[in-house]
C-alpha cells in the first residue's frame, strides 16, 4: 500500500580485522620478523607472503578489511529511509549510501551525527596513517586449507577496505538531524520519532507510527544511570510490533563491578610503579572512566598520576561532550545552570591531570609524557592506532597492565599477534546495554502484541550454554525470530488509512440508519492528494469543467440503492405514472418486464436492475429511473 523500505541502523562487523596483523606506527622489528605461513603441501606462489604466523596463530599481512552488511539481500537504491540509533551503529553508512544509487533520507540525532563523525574519522585516520602497500586476497580462495579461526571467516570475499574521508563526509552530509520526540513525517506515509535510549550521548530508539499501527524498534539501550539522558520507555509501550536488538555483548558481567575492578587494577598497577593502557573508542564509556577513575585516584592519594587521552579526535570529543547538555542525564544537565561544564573532564584538562594529544608524535607529547601513567587510546582491536604502539612498548614488562573495557572484541584474540606477552592483561568489559533480566522486564512492561528477536537471543550464549536464564522469554506474546541473511515478513495488516473530510462536506451528509448502530451515507467529493495524504473536499467538479463540452457536473448526492425491488409495487407505480403496457415475465434469476410500446426491457434480479432502451428516448428512461428509485432502499 504505502510502500516504504526503512533500514534500521547500519552497523559494521569489525570482527574481521582481528584476522589481520597490527599496523604499528613505527616499524616493529618483532612483527617484521614473523615467519611466513603456508598450508602443508601447498606451494601456491600467489599465497606467498600473505600469511604470517605468530605464536601458533596465523594472520593476514595486509590492510585490514571490514565486512559490510549483506548487499545481496536488498537493493540500496530502493531504501527510502535509514534510521540510525547511535554512533556505534553507523559504520557501514558510507558503504550503503555512496555509489549505490541510494537516494533516501537518513535520520539521526545531532550527537549521533557529531560523535559518529569523529568516531569514523578516527578510524579512517588510523588506517590512513599506516598504509599497507600490498593487498592480500589469494588466501580467500584457499580458506579450506587454513587453520581456524581464519578458516571460519564469514564470506571474506565480500570484505572491503575502509572508505576514505571524502566518501565518509559525503555520506554524513545526507544525515538529517532530529531531536528526541520530534515527530517526523516521512513522505506523508508514516511518522517516525526518536526517543532517548539511555545508552550513549544522543542514542535513540525509534517509534514508527502508521495511521493505525505502531512499531517500536529498540536498539542499544540502557536503564543504568550513567551520563546520557535516561531511557524513555513510555513512548515504546503497547506497540503492535516490538523489534528488540542491541542487548549486552557480555551478559555475565556487571558494569558496576567491572568498573570497580578496573579502578582497583589501575591503583595496584600504579602502586607497583607500572603504567596502565586502556584501549578505547573516542567517546562513550571513557567519559565515565575519566570521572570515576580520577575520583578513585584522588581517594587513593594518586592525584599526581597523569591520564593521557591520545586520539586524532581527542580535542573534538572532549569539546563536544561539554556542549551537548540537553542530551545528558539530569544531574549533568543541572550543572550547566551553575554554569559549570557538565563533565568533570573539562576541569581535569584545565588542571592538567588529563592531557590529550592527537598522536604520540604530536607536539609536546614527548615533553609531557611521564610514567607511571594511565593511557587511553584507540583502537580497542589493537590492530591500528596508538594502542598498537603501547602494547609493543610495554608488552615485555610485567609491571604494566592492559585493561580491556570495550566489549566489541574478544581480548585474547586482540592480544594474539602480540604474544608472548609479559604485561598483565585484565578483562573488565563494560557494556551498559540491557542485560537479559532488564530486557525481559522491559518487554513485560512494554506489552507489545508481537515481538521480533534475533535468533541469538532465543538460546543461551555459545560461551555459556548452561545459563538458560540468558535468553528472552517468549511466553505472553507472539515471537518472530530473525536470522542473519534472512528476510522475514512482519505481521502488520493494514486495514485502514487516515484521511481528512472537510467540515463543509461533512455537514452536508445525511446518514441513513440501516440498522441500530450502523449508518451509511453516500459521499461525493473532490479527492485531493498531497504527499500521500487524502483530503476529501466539497464537490466542485473537475478542474477542467469550464472547458468541458459535456455537461457532466453534479454527480453530487448520487445515492446507492440496496435491497430488492418489489415487482408488483413497481408495476403498480408504473401504472400510476401512466405506463400501462408493462408485461411481467419470470426469468431464471428474477423477472423481465417488457414495455411493449416502447421497445424497452427491464430486467430485475435480486441484486441488480438493468434497463434496456432500444429506442433512445431519454425522457422515458429518466421517468423509469425515477419510479425505480422510489421502489428501492437508498443511502
Amino acid at each position: 500500500m504505502k510502500e516504504m523500505t526503512i533500514m534500521l541502523d547500519c552497523g559494521l562487523s569489525a570482527q574481521s580485522i582481528l584476522n589481520f596483523l597490527p599496523l604499528p606506527l613505527v616499524p616493529s622489528p618483532r612483527l617484521g620478523s614473523l615467519s611466513n605461513w603456508l598450508p602443508r603441501d601447498c606451494n601456491d606462489p600467489q599465497l606467498e607472503g600473505e600469511l604470517k604466523e605468530c605464536h601458533g596463530r596465523v594472520f593476514v599481512d595486509s590492510a585490514p578489511e571490514f565486512c559490510p552488511p549483506l548487499g545481496k539481500l536488498i537493493d540500496y537504491s530502493e531504501i527510502d529511509v535509514i534510521l540510525i540509533s547511535n554512533y556505534t551503529a553507523m559504520l557501514a553508512l558510507p558503504y550503503i549510501t555512496e555509489g549505490t544509487g541510494f537516494h533516501g533520507i537518513v535520520y539521526a540525532t545531532e550527537p549521533t551525527l557529531q560523535i559518529g563523525k569523529f568516531y569514523l574519522e578516527e578510524l579512517v585516520q588510523y588506517l590512513e596513517q599506516t598504509p599497507k602497500a600490498a593487498l592480500a586476497s589469494r588466501w580467500k580462495e584457499l580458506l579450506h586449507l587454513l587453520p581456524p579461526p581464519l578458516s571460519e571467516s564469514f564470506k571474506p570475499r565480500c570484505w572491503k577496505q575502509l572508505y576514505n574521508l571524502t566518501t565518509l563526509s559525503s555520506s554524513l552530509a545526507r544525515i538529517q538531524t532530529v531531536g528526541y520526540n520530534e515527530k517526523l513525517d516521512v513522505y506523508g506515509a508514516l511518522k517516525v520519532t526518536a526517543v532517548s535510549s539511555g545508552y550513549c550521548l544522543g542514542s535513540s530508539n525509534w517509534v514508527i507510527n502508521l495511521d493505525h499501527e505502531k512499531v517500536a524498534y529498540v536498539s542499544g539501550s540502557s536503564t543504568l544511570t550513567t551520563h546520557p539522558r535516561p531511557m524513555d520507555q513510555n513512548a515504546l509501550k503497547n506497540a503492535d510490533l516490538l523489534i528488540l536488538s542491541g542487548l549486552t555483548q557480555v551478559p555475565s558481567s556487571n558494569p558496576d563491578s567491572m568498573l570497580g575492578e578496573l579502578c582497583m587494577t589501575v591503583v595496584s598497577t600504579l602502586r607497583g610503579n607500572g603504567s596502565v593502557l586502556i584501549p578505547c573508542y573516542p567517546s562513550g564509556v571513557i567519559y565515565d572512566l575519566f570521572e570515576c577513575l580520577s575520583a578513585h585516584l584522588d581517594s587513593s592519594s594518586l592525584s599526581q598520576i597523569p591520564m593521557f587521552f591520545i586520539s586524532p579526535v581527542a580535542d573534538t570529543s572532549l569539546a563536544y561532550s561539554n556542549i551537548l547538555a540537553e542530551w545528558l542525564s539530569e544531574v549533568k544537565q543541572n550543572r550547566v545552570f551553575m554554569p559549570e561544564e557538565p563533565f568533570p573532564h573539562a576541569y581535569l584538562v584545565k588542571m592538567g591531570r588529563l592531557k590529550h594529544f592527537t598522536h604520540i608524535y604530536a607536539n609536546g607529547f614527548n615533553t609531557e609524557f611521564r610514567m607511571p601513567c594511565v593511557v587511553f587510546c584507540g583502537h580497542p582491536s589493537l590492530r591500528f592506532g596508538a594502542s598498537v604502539h603501547f602494547v609493543e612498548l610495554w608488552g615485555s614488562n610485567p609491571a604494566h597492565t592492559i585493561i580491556f573495557t570495550e566489549p566489541d572484541f574478544a581480548y585474547l584474540d586482540a592480544l594474539a599477534p602480540f604474544q608472548p606477552l609479559a604485561m598483565k592483561a585484565v578483562h573488565c568489559p563494560i557494556d551498559t546495554s540491557l542485560n537479559f533480566v532488564q530486557a525481559n522486564k522491559l518487554v513485560r512492561e512494554l506489552k507489545p502484541a508481537n515481538l521480533v528477536l534475533p535468533d541469538c537471543y532465543t538460546v543461551p550464549p555459545p560461551s555459556l550454554p548452561h545459563r538458560t536464564d540468558l535468553v528472552i522469554q517468549q511466553a505472553d506474546h507472539k515471537v518472530l525470530v530473525m536470522k542473519r541473511g534472512e528476510v522475514i515478513s512482519l505481521p502488520l495488516k493494514k486495514k485502514k488509512v487516515k484521511v481528512k473530510l472537510s467540515a463543509e462536506l461533512a455537514s452536508c451528509l445525511t446518514p441513513t440508519q440501516i440498522k441500530p448502530g450502523v449508518m451509511l451515507s453516500s459521499l461525493t467529493g473532490n479527492l485531493v492528494v498531497r504527499d500521500n495524504h487524502f483530503d476529501i473536499k466539497m464537490f466542485e467538479g473537475s478542474e477542467g469543467d469550464s472547458n468541458q463540452l459535456l455537461p457532466v457536473k453534479s454527480s453530487q448526492n448520487s445515492q446507492f440503492e440496496w435491497g430488492t425491488v418489489n415487482v408488483d409495487l413497481f408495476v403498480q407505480r408504473l401504472n400510476e405514472e401512466g405506463i400501462t403496457d408493462a408485461k411481467v415475465e419470470p426469468s431464471p434469476s428474477g423477472y423481465i418486464i417488457h414495455l411493449q410500446n416502447q421497445d424497452t426491457v427491464i430486467q430485475i434480479d435480486d441484486r441488480s436492475t438493468h434497463i434496456f432502451c432500444e429506442e433512445p428516448d431519454q425522457k422515458l428512461r429518466k421517468h423509469l429511473r425515477k419510479v425505480l428509485s422510489e421502489c428501492l432502499n437508498k443511502f
Binding site: 540537553e326 481528512k500 472537510s502 451509511l520 440496496w562
Partner: protein
C-alpha cells in the same frame, strides 16, 4: 469548541511587557510573562486579576510558555508563581532557563536595593520559580497533558529564543515571541516549517520598516568607538552581564582582530567568565559558523578582551570598558562614569533601555549635570550615545515568516498601534487572510473550522492510489470520489459501495442503463470506434477515457460499437451513479446520428 480566543494582558498594541492569554480547544495557555521596564508601580506586571478575581490562578491556566530570557518576556514570572500563586507547568528552552534567573536577579537588585521597593520578589522566589520550569528541546513534541501539545522552533533573536507551536486537537497556533529572520553575528535566522496554524501570533516591533540592517548599526557603533579611541578617548559601555554584553564583545573582538587594534578592551562584568561560559556551553544554539569552528576556537574565548581591574580607571590613554550594571544606577559602571564624564574626549554608549530615575535615563534625556546623593555634581561633557541592537524581524521578515508557515489568520502583538494597522492592511491584501491586533484586555475571537479525521478502507485507498499513480502528476487535477461513509460504533470509515454494504450486512442493488443508437457511418467497425473515442475524449478533458477492443470506457460508462460496414449499433451503458455522464455521452452520440456534429 470551534473558536480560538486571544487576549493580550501585555503587548497588545504596545511594546511593553509581553503576556498573552490563549484559549484553544478548552485549554488556556499563557504566552510569556513579561515585565514593563518603564513603570515602577502596578502597571509593571500583567494584570493577573483578569484571569480570576479570587483564588489561585493555577486552575485557570494549563501552562505557561516563555519564549526567551528578555525581561519584557519573563520578568513577571517569579511574581506570578511565587506571589500571585501559580504551580502549573512552565516551559522554556534550556538556555532560557539558565540565563533568565541571572537577569531576574540583576533586576531585583536594582528594584529593591537601589530603589528600595518593597513587595518585590526575593532571590529565593526566583530560585523556587525556576524549579518549576520544564525545558524543551527544539522540535521536540511535548505533551503538556493528553490533549495539549507544544513544540519549539528556532527564533534567532537571543541565545535560546524560541517560537512555539501549540496544538489542541486539530486547532493550532504559533507564537513567535521575538524573532529575527536574518542570521547575525552569533545567531542563526528563525525557521519554521509549513505547519499551517489557525493563527500566527507575531511580534511587530519593526512593523513598518524595512530596517536599516543590523549590520549598519553595528558599523555605526564600531565607527564611533574607533573614532573615540583614535583621539585618545575612553569608551564606557554599561551592560548587564548576559545577552547584549556577549554580542558586543564578539563585535569588538572581531573588529579589533581585523583592524589590528592595540587599544585595550576590558570586560568588568560581575560574572565575567561565568557569563561567557553559558554561551560556550550552549554553542549548539548559535549559528552554523560558530558551531563548526568551536573546537578550534570557541567564539566566546575572547583574545582581545581582558578582565578589568579598578585601578585601570585612572590609566592614561584610550581604552574601552564594558561594565555592569547597564543603566548606570549603581556599581562599577557608575563609578567609572563619574570619573570619565567631565572629559569631552570620552564617550558612553548605552546599548539598552534605561528606567526612569537612573543616571542612564537622565543623560539619555540630555542632562549636562548629574547630581548625586552626597550633593556631588558631575558635569557630563563626554559624548552620550544610544544604540539599540535588538534583533527583531522587520516587515519583510514578518511577511517571510507568514509565507513559511502559511497561517489561516495573523494576530499582531508587541508593536505600536499605528504601525500595526499599516502592517495589518499589508498582510490582508497580500495574503488574503484575516489579521487581528487586539489591545490589552481585548479578546480576539477567531473561528477555526477543520477537516474531520476519518478512516478510509485499505481497498478504496489502494484503488484511488493506483488511479492517482496511473496518471501524470498534476496538482490541479481534482478527482471525483463517489463512495460511502460508514458510521459504526462511533467510528467513521469511507469505503466503496460494495464494501459498505457488506459492512452493514445488506445487499447492494445495482441499477444500470443501456441504450442503443443506430449510426450511419460506413467503413470498418474499428474506424467508427476510433472516431467515437476521439469525439468523446475531446469533449471530456481531464477524464480518463479508454479505448479497448471496440469499446470505449470512462468511469462506469461503456460505449460499444457493433454492426456491419454499412450500419453500426452503438450500445451506451452506465451505472446509475454515473447518470449525468452516461446520459450526456448518449446525447452526444445521438446528435451525431442526427447529423448535427460532423
Amino acid at each position: 469548541m470551534q473558536e480560538i480566543e486571544v487576549t493580550p494582558l501585555g503587548a497588545g498594541q504596545d511594546v511593553g511587557r509581553s503576556c498573552i492569554l490563549l484559549s484553544i480547544g478548552g485549554k488556556n495557555v499563557m504566552l510569556d510573562c513579561g515585565m514593563h521596564m518603564g513603570y515602577n508601580d502596578d502597571r509593571r506586571f500583567p494584570d493577573f486579576s483578569y484571569i480570576t478575581q479570587d483564588g489561585p490562578i493555577t486552575n485557570f491556566i494549563d501552562c505557561v510558555i516563555i519564549s526567551h530570557f528578555h525581561l519584557d518576556h519573563c520578568g513577571a514570572l517569579p511574581y506570578m508563581t511565587e506571589m500571585v500563586g501559580y504551580s502549573g507547568p512552565i516551559y522554556m528552552t534550556q538556555p532560557t532557563k539558565a540565563i533568565a534567573p541571572i537577569l531576574l536577579e540583576d533586576m531585583r537588585k536594582v528594584a529593591v536595593e537601589r530603589k528600595g521597593e518593597s513587595n518585590f520578589f526575593t532571590s529565593q522566589n526566583i530560585k523556587d520559580c525556576m524549579k518549576k520550569v520544564i525545558t524543551v528541546g527544539l522540535h521536540e513534541s511535548v505533551m503538556v497533558d493528553s490533549q495539549l501539545e507544544i513544540k519549539a522552533y528556532y527564533a534567532g533573536h537571543v541565545l535560546g529564543a524560541a517560537m512555539f507551536w501549540i496544538r489542541v486537537g486539530s486547532q493550532s497556533v504559533v507564537y513567535t515571541g521575538d524573532y529575527n529572520m536574518t542570521p547575525d553575528r552569533h545567531l542563526g535566522a528563525a525557521w519554521i516549517d509549513k505547519c499551517r496554524p489557525d493563527i500566527l501570533i507575531t511580534e511587530s516591533t519593526y512593523a513598518t520598516t524595512i530596517r536599516d540592517s543590523k549590520r549598519c548599526r553595528e558599523r555605526d557603533f564600531l565607527k564611533k568607538v574607533h573614532e573615540c579611541v583614535d583621539r585618545g578617548g575612553k569608551v564606557l559601555i554599561p551592560v548587564f552581564a548576559l545577552g547584549r554584553a556577549q554580542e558586543l564583545c564578539i563585535l569588538l573582538e572581531t573588529y579589533w582582530e581585523r583592524m589590528n587594534l592595540k587599544v585595550p578592551v576590558y570586560f568588568a562584568v560581575g560574572l565575567t567568565e561565568k557569563a561567557n561560559n553559558y554561551y560556550k556551553m550552549f554553542i549548539t544554539w548559535t549559528n552554523q559558523k560558530i558551531r563548526k569552528t568551536f573546537v578550534q576556537r570557541n567564539m566566546f574565548d575572547f583574545k582581545h578582551i581582558k578582565p578589568f581591574d579598578k585601578q585601570y580607571i585612572d590609566n592614561p590613554g584610550a581604552m574601552v570598558v564594558f561594565a555592569t550594571p547597564g543603566m548606570l544606577h549603581a556599581g562599577l559602571s557608575l563609578q567609572i562614569f563619574k570619573k570619565w564624564a567631565p572629559n569631552e574626549n570620552n564617550m558612553v554608549i548605552m546599548p539598552g533601555f534605561c528606567v526612569v530615575g537612573t543616571v542612564g535615563h537622565k543623560i539619555l534625556n540630555g542632562a549636562t549635570k548629574v547630581e548625586f546623593e552626597n550633593r556631588q555634581v558631575v558635569d557630563v561633557k563626554m559624548s552620550v550615545q544610544y544604540m539599540s541592537f535588538s534583533a527583531h524581524a522587520d516587515a519583510k521578515g514578518i511577511m517571510q515568516l507568514i509565507q513559511y508557515c502559511e497561517p489561516k489568520n495573523v494576530l499582531l502583538v508587541h508593536g505600536e498601534a499605528s504601525k500595526m494597522a499599516f502592517l495589518k492592511e499589508k498582510i490582508q491584501s497580500e495574503f488574503k487572510i484575516d489579521c487581528f491586533m487586539p489591545a490589552n484586555g481585548e479578546t480576539a475571537v477567531i473561528k477555526a473550522t477543520h477537516p474531520i479525521s476519518i478512516d478510509m478502507s485499505a481497498k478504496l485507498f489502494k484503488s484511488e492510489m493506483d488511479h492517482q499513480n496511473s496518471q501524470p502528476p498534476d496538482p490541479k487535477r481534482r478527482r471525483i470520489l463517489n463512495a460511502v461513509l460508514v458510521v459504526k460504533d462511533s467510528s467513521m470509515t469511507v469505503m466503496d459501495a460494495d464494501e459498505a454494504c457488506e459492512e452493514a450486512g445488506i445487499s447492494r442493488h445495482t441499477v444500470r442503463f443501456t441504450s442503443i443508437v443506430r449510426l450511419q457511418d460506413p467503413g470498418p467497425v474499428a474506424k467508427t470506434a476510433e472516431h467515437l473515442f476521439g469525439l468523446i475524449s475531446s469533449r471530456l478533458v481531464d477524464w480518463n477515457v479508454q479505448l479497448n477492443d471496440l469499446a470505449i470506457s470512462v468511469e462506469s460508462v461503456l460505449v460499444k460499437v457493433e454492426g456491419t460496414e454499412e450500419e453500426k449499433n452503438v450500445l451506451v451503458s452506465w451505472a446509475n451513479q454515473d447518470e449525468e455522464l452516461g446520459s450526456s455521452i448518449l446525447t452526444l452520440i445521438q446528435t451525431i446520428d442526427d447529423g448535427e456534429v460532423p
